[in-house]
């Protein structure tokens, strides 16, 4: 048996390396493309990540880079802004989920239920996403102006107490979240709408035959049917909102009144570009990476379940 086998394959390579080489030669073009993509990923994505991890444990002073162990993390832990940034980021995430998750879902359900003008309204809802963030921010800065802004003008007209909006540590973060929700709602709404449209129509018909109104249809059909997709989007939104930077940076200059809108990513930016402390910036990025990796692992588990 062994002799036949040897004789039969004498002319062809039998080792693992040989087979691999043969496969590579057969798919040379594909491997060429793959190599290019891997090179790009390696250079622009993986290498910076590895460098970030390395730099987290280094310090550069007068051109000399030295290993400092956990000193950078120690420095971060001593910085009161570190804890404040985490508190602010978690607050933003929480508020963004309450508003940024619920409002687009609600709008998507409404759009899904509509019989007329659906496309028109869909465009209207998506419109803010197409606006450049800076333009949206300028708009909201005007809305929020405590003296002449639109919001306080409306409140005054209704004889209601006005708010300091971005000018008070108590309301600054909520104001950022409201603006952010408005700016990003269109994209989330469309995703929810796509998920809603995947629900078989018979289920709604059956529910309607049973006399279910809008709220019962949402509660008993829409939410159970989209539960998994909603969980995935929720996790994605958590990961995205925890990396918030643009909105507070543009609306309040990053810190906000008494540091009330300083987020973790803004603090990374400050350490890197204001303080030129790449070590601490990298260490903070690494901590962020670990936290987000936890959420991502959860996402992967859920997406497997969804498959």
């Amino acid at each position: 048996m062994a002799a036949i086998s040897v004789a039969g394959k004498a002319a062809r390579p039998t080792t693992h390396e040989g087979r691999l080489w043969r496969k590579v030669r057969q798919n040379l073009t594909a491997h060429g493309f793959l190599f290019g993509a891997l090179l790009c990923f390696g250079f622009f994505t993986w290498y910076p990540m590895v460098r970030e991890v390395v730099m987290s444990f280094q310090k550069t002073k007068r051109g000399k880079t030295s290993w400092v162990g956990l000193d950078n993390i120690d420095q971060l832990l001593q910085d009161p802004a570190f804890w404040q940034a985490w508190r602010n980021t978690l607050l933003f995430t929480l508020l963004a989920l309450v508003l940024g998750f619920a409002v687009p879902f609600f709008v998507a359900v409404l759009l899904n239920e509509l019989r007329h003008a659906k496309s028109y309204l869909r465009i209207l809802v998506y419109l803010p996403v197409m606006m450049p963030p800076v333009a949206s921010v300028l708009l909201f800065k005007y809305f929020y102006d405590p003296d002449f802004g639109l919001f306080n003008s409306i409140l005054r007209a209704l004889h209601l107490p006005t708010s300091a909006w971005l000018n008070s540590p108590d309301t600054a973060m909520l104001s950022v979240v409201i603006a952010s929700t408005w700016m990003n709602m269109g994209g989330a709404t469309l995703i929810y709408l796509a998920a809603l449209q995947g629900i078989p129509g018979e289920l709604y018909e059956a529910a309607e035959l049973d006399g279910a109104g809008l709220w019962r249809r949402v509660w008993h059909v829409t939410i159970p049917q989209t539960r998994l997709i909603l969980s995935l989007l929720l996790l994605l939104q958590v990961v995205a909102t925890m990396q918030v930077f643009v909105e507070p940076f543009l609306l309040t200059g990053g810190n906000g009144p008494q540091g009330s809108t300083t987020t973790v990513v803004y603090l990374v930016y400050q350490y890197a570009f204001n303080f030129n402390n790449y070590g601490a910036a990298s260490a903070l990025g690494l901590i962020m990476l670990v936290v987000l990796a936890g959420f991502s692992a959860l996402y992967v588990r859920l997406s497997r379940k969804a498959d």
Partner: protein, 465 residues
């Protein structure tokens, strides 16, 4: 060597020698020439006129600033006539420096051979090992006006006794005010307030004009709250850190006074408006719209308000820093990329000297500036002293296109310049908090805010040791 080659070489040497003599005579660029005999690597030697050298320089004005661009190109051409063997490779840049790209350039070692920086960048540049020590190349031959450059300005470009850059412009903070609003409020625009008590009184009268006009304005975001706190503390004679730089030194009566002034104007006098968390250029925008009476700033804010925000030169005046004990100074300079050859450094110094440090030339060619429709007469740059300062003021007044008398109160008081503390941005970030607190929280406790900031700055400074 062939006969033709010998002749050509002789001509080159003769032209070089003649040129260097004429340069020495006019004293504009100090090219005493060393000819072939000059030691190439010697720092004290001036640029060898025969040496072929190319230097890249950034901060060439963008095409959108037509007049400035034209002047730059003219200066490059004129410099090329003086130094035919030097090629200036200009790099268009607007703005000249932005924190994120600048940091990336230093990290990637991609800055130009002669690169633009702010006075506050020295530590960052040295930490990135980005600049050459030019001490040996800068002397009264290469930079004839050297003796008249304010030592406090040069000090900002020194580390460990070594010089790393040459200044091109600078400023001292003072009190900017809107003369139009002063007149409307019945105040004398020729006599701006000089103390915080006077500022409070003036602010009340200006705010009483109503129609959304604020008496006084202050930044409190993006580290600018801390920056202005420092300026105002210096004005009162305080300091931010101890002499050895290891401890915070602002939790003093002067430090409290700075915050208390702001608190009182915001909440007791109600002269600062409700919109706070302001950052550059918010105050300029307000003043250019005639909605703000006063704020602490630098003379080049006036240029920004007129050129960018379409304000009016006649409308703005400048007084000395309130308190006048010291004025925070800042400015711009050029440094020389680490690894540059001695000839590149010498050529770079010659260019900076020609463009920025020679009276009557480059940026000091006021007649040309006037012809080109650019402002002449603003009290900036501010780095000359002695004979150079006198000559500059005279030349400036002769070609003035802006109302120089509006800045007379600022120039009349000789307030000493004081540099920013080391690691300024980290300290400013901490001080943003108390400044924004007194402007956004009616219940702000000045003493506690300052004590907390002191603890935090001490932590920051300890982590940087």
């Amino acid at each position: 060597m062939s006969r033709t080659g010998l002749v050509r070489r002789s001509v080159v040497v003769a032209v070089a020698a003649g040129m260097s003599m004429s340069l020495a005579a006019c004293g504009s660029s100090g090219g005493t020439g060393g000819g072939d005999g000059a030691a190439k690597g010697s720092g004290s030697a001036t640029l060898d006129p025969a040496a072929k050298v190319t230097v890249s320089v950034d901060c060439q004005p963008p095409v959108t600033k037509a007049a400035e661009r034209k002047q730059w190109d003219q200066d490059v051409a004129a410099f090329g006539k003086l130094y035919p063997n030097v090629t200036i490779k200009s790099k268009d840049a607007s703005p000249c420096e932005e924190a994120a790209p600048f940091t990336a350039q230093l990290k990637g070692k991609t800055q130009t051979d002669v690169f633009y920086t702010y006075f506050t960048d020295l530590n960052q540049v040295l930490d990135a090992d980005g600049a050459e020590d030019i001490s040996a190349y800068v002397n009264e031959t290469t930079v004839p006006a050297l003796k008249d450059i304010d030592p406090s300005v040069l000090a900002t470009l020194k580390d460990g006794g070594k010089l790393y850059g040459l200044p091109t412009s600078n400023y001292k903070m003072g009190l900017l005010y809107n003369r139009k609003l002063f007149k409307q409020a019945g105040l004398d625009p020729e006599k701006p307030p000089a103390t915080w008590a006077e500022i409070r009184e003036s602010a009340k009268k200006i705010a009483a004009l109503g129609n959304g006009v604020n008496g006084y304005g202050e930044y409190s975001a993006t580290n600018q709250g801390g920056w202005h706190y420092t300026a105002e503390l210096y004005g009162l004679g305080g300091k931010m850190v101890s002499d050895d730089g290891k401890k915070a030194a602002f939790n003093t009566a002067e430090g409290k006074q700075v915050l208390q002034n702001l608190y009182d104007m915001r909440w007791t006098d109600n002269t600062m408006g409700a919109a706070q968390s302001l950052k550059w250029p918010d105050l300029m925008t307000q003043m250019a719209a005639d909605k703000l009476g006063m704020y602490v700033g630098a003379p080049d804010d006036i240029t920004y308000m007129v050129q960018t925000l379409k304000g009016d030169y006649e409308a703005y005046g400048m007084g000395p820093m309130p308190g006048a004990k010291a004025a925070l100074l800042g400015g711009n300079d050029y440094m020389f990329k680490k690894g540059s050859s001695p000839d590149q450094i010498k050529a770079g110094i010659a260019w900076i000297n020609f463009k920025y440090l020679t009276l009557g030339k480059g940026q000091f060619d006021y007649a040309r500036t006037k012809t080109d429709g650019l402002p002449v007469g603003l009290p900036q740059p501010f780095f000359f002293t002695g004979a150079s300062l006198a000559a500059d003021n005279k030349a400036k007044a002769a070609s003035a296109t802006v109302p120089v008398q509006n800045y007379a109160p600022y120039l009349a008081v000789a307030v000493p310049g004081k540099t920013e503390p080391a690691n300024a941005q980290q300290i400013y970030k901490v001080l943003d908090n108390p400044v924004s607190a007194v402007l956004t929280d009616r219940n702000a406790d000045v003493a506690k805010l300052l004590a907390d900031a002191e603890t935090q700055v001490n932590q920051v400074l300890a982590s940087l040791q």
